[in-house]
Structures are given as C-alpha cells and as structure tokens.
Symmetry: C2
Subunit: 259 residues, 2 copies
Amino acid sequence: MCELLGMSANVPTDICFSFTGLIQRGGNTGPHADGWGITFYEGKGCRAFKDPNPSSESKIAQMVVNYPIKSCSVISHIRQANRGGVSLENTHPFTRELWGSNWTFAHNGQLENFEALDTGNYTPVGETDSEHAFCWLLSQLKTRYPSPPEDMSEVFHGIASLAGQLKELGVYNMLLTDGAYVMAYCSNNLYWITRRAPFGEAQLLDEDVVIDFKQETTPNDVVTVIATQPLTCNETWQKIESGSYCLFHYGELVSSPGR
Amino acid sequence: MCELLGMSANVPTDICFSFTGLIQRGGNTGPHADGWGITFYEGKGCRAFKDPNPSSESKIAQMVVNYPIKSCSVISHIRQANRGGVSLENTHPFTRELWGSNWTFAHNGQLENFEALDTGNYTPVGETDSEHAFCWLLSQLKTRYPSPPEDMSEVFHGIASLAGQLKELGVYNMLLTDGAYVMAYCSNNLYWITRRAPFGEAQLLDEDVVIDFKQETTPNDVVTVIATQPLTCNETWQKIESGSYCLFHYGELVSSPGR
C-alpha cells in the first residue's frame, strides 16, 4: 500500500511538518520505498518534486523539508510498487491539463482489469493502473464537458461516481486537485483534519517532532490535511467512509455526502 | 530575450557545468530575472525544477547545481518576461503528453497574433505566446498522426515546417524533446557543440569555472550542448542558421538540412 498526503488551505501554507512525518514511511517507519512525489500549486501553475528513490534517503525530499514552499493545494504520494516497475514515469502524483487547468492525481490501492478502460485523448506514459485510471477519468470528464463547466460541485459529484466505478475494480483511494479544490475519495483508508484558531500543538506519530501551530499561523488560517493514516498522535482525525468522498475548497469542507 | 539550454547525450550525463554558467545569466551576468526551469528525462519519465524567482538567487537552482541528476535529454530556460506575467504557470519548459510520451518545450523570442492559432485538445494553462505555440504544434501533430508514427525523422521534419510558420509570427528559437530526440530550431540565436573523446578542458564564460571533461567522462561518451549563446570561451560552438534546425539523438547529430 502507498501513502497519500494532501493539503487544502485558505492561505499559502507550508506542508513541511506533515511531509516530515510522511517521508519517514518511505523506507524508514514504513515499507513504501519505491519512490515519492509532491506537487505544489501556486496560482494556476504547479511544480512537482519526484524521486524514484526512497523518500527517507532522498536529497530532494530533504530539500522539500528544509525549503518551505507555500501553497494552497498540495498532493503527495509515497509508493510501494505493485503494478508497474520502479521508475520516474510510474511515480505519482500525475499531472495533466483539462479545461486549461493543471489537474493532479495520486492513487493508493490496486485495480484489476484496468486496461480495458478507454483513455481517449489522454494516453498513459507509464505502466501503472493509477495513471491509466487518471487518464480514463479525465477522458470521461472531457467527453461529458467539452468546454469548462461552471458548476464545479456538480463536476466533483460526477468524479465521485466515476471513482465509484474504479472502486469496483479493486482498492481505490484517490486525491485529486485542480489547484482550487482538493478531493479525497476513500475506498478503505483516508483520514482528514481541519486546523483553525485556536491552534494548538501537534505531535508527529512517525518522528519525534512537535509543532506549535500558534507560532506558524494567523487566526484566520484554515488548513486541512488529508492522509492515508493519521500523522499526529494527539489530535482527532476523521475517517472518510468507504465509497464516499470529501471535497475541500481552500481549506473548508464544501461537500461530503452522507455527513 | 530568454536563454535556452539543451543537452543530448548517449549516456546519462549531468549538466551541472553548463547550468552553472546559465543561471548566472538569470539576474547576475544577464537580465533574465523572471524565472527559470529545467526538465530532465530519465527513461520515459521526466522531472522538472522550476522557480518564478531569479535563477541566480534560487535555492532550488543551487540544489540542481549541487545534486547532479544524470540524464540523456535535458531542456532548460531562463526567462525575461515579455508576454505573460511572472508566474509559475508561465515558466518554461512546458511538458505535455503526445503519443504516450512526455514532450518538453522551451521557446526564446516573441510572437505576434499567436492567439489565432487553434490549439485543439491542448489548452494553454498560462498566458504566454510560447505555451500557446507549443499547444498548437502538438495539436497539429496529433491531427497529422492520430497514432504514434514510426518514422520520427519525418515527424521532426514536419515540426520544422510548423516551426517555420511560427517564425513568420516573430522570433522563434525552440528546444523540443520527446526524451530520445532533442531538436533545436533557430530563428536568430542558437549554438551547439558536441563533445567526445579526446575530451579537453572547458572554461565558462559567465563564471570563473573550468572543467576537465576527461575526469568526468568515459572515452565513449558523446554529449551535445545547445545554448542561445556559447557558454564557454575556449571551444568552437556552431551556429544554427536562421530558419534551420539540428536534430540530435542521444548526443549525435542525425539531421540538419543544408549542412
């Protein structure tokens, strides 16, 4: 299984604290030694740092920890390969353009019979079930909405329905963002927490690191973190139900069916 | 004007020496202070490092200099903005998928009336003439070859013809790669050099750095570097004629009309 990490915030925020915990699971406290990646949005643009090497030993991961890039939308992934070899083209997150925006995607799980999904104009570059599913999903959206849709809530509701079809093929936990919205679709394991004033202290589970968010934030900050497993041991994380999703828009939960 | 840098090599090679010279032109020895980017291929995958800040001050650029990533195909760009604001989405190189491969593109120059070019299924994310031209070019190729063509020399010959149409709109120096081929199309300024055994010493123009390639290479290495202006002061660089191109395949020149 891989580890997912996402962030949605109302002000550009660094994800160093959570990422510090996550990368320990890439070969150190976890078995996910087959590469890692993280994609940050800054406006309409995004930049990714990726490495097919274990995150706990990666110099690029160390740079990401030490050089806080501030962003409102972040998706990260550390990989334990199941489908597709260990290589850069198979390293998540994947980014493709749809409706003139960069869409970024990461997946945890494993799909059967994914090759039959028609990916239309989005051809996978690597061999993973994940990239194939992402290409299919974008192709379906492009067919449904040839030009940019106005009601994005409706679009994400449709994406949840497509994700439900993928879940039928196996295990499908997904993080997806267009830079403004961050969507978390849960097949079996996905937790989230929204931090806002009054901020307190948090203690990482995977490393002996404590952060006092009061020192790092302003009273108006709203920051949501999503992860495969809770990253801290002294806060309450919410689990997303199997087959359901949470949609965040600049930190705030805007849609979650069944809640 | 911006600065372009490309590399094509028959073995994974680091570009630190040339990049060290290039980044000095981003705000230090040159006026190109509006961001920079570099994209490395490793197999079918690629990774990019980008920063909208001047390269001469960028911590990420320093990491790229100090952490040699070895690659057979590299494209880099430092920007002096003319069309499109200083932002991450306007920072070259641009990468898009075509025929299941990552294609990477950087442009130096300025185009008029580029908005009329139909970009088909490739919608620009930013506002630059460059990304628009790249999207148009890919769209034209996808229309001409709906499935992956076999004869890539013919494809690049067709790309040169499309580049010629773009040159009619202004100044169009271009670097383009699919990871195996690196193409350099020249509108006014583009130079290249192929280094092979016996290797000698090279002295950077922009900084007091000398490299002895004998220490860094094996006798079979073939490494071509392409740049807007020669980067070294003690070697002979070849200028590409206006309206012409050079196509390199793992270091070797494979096509150059008129030579």
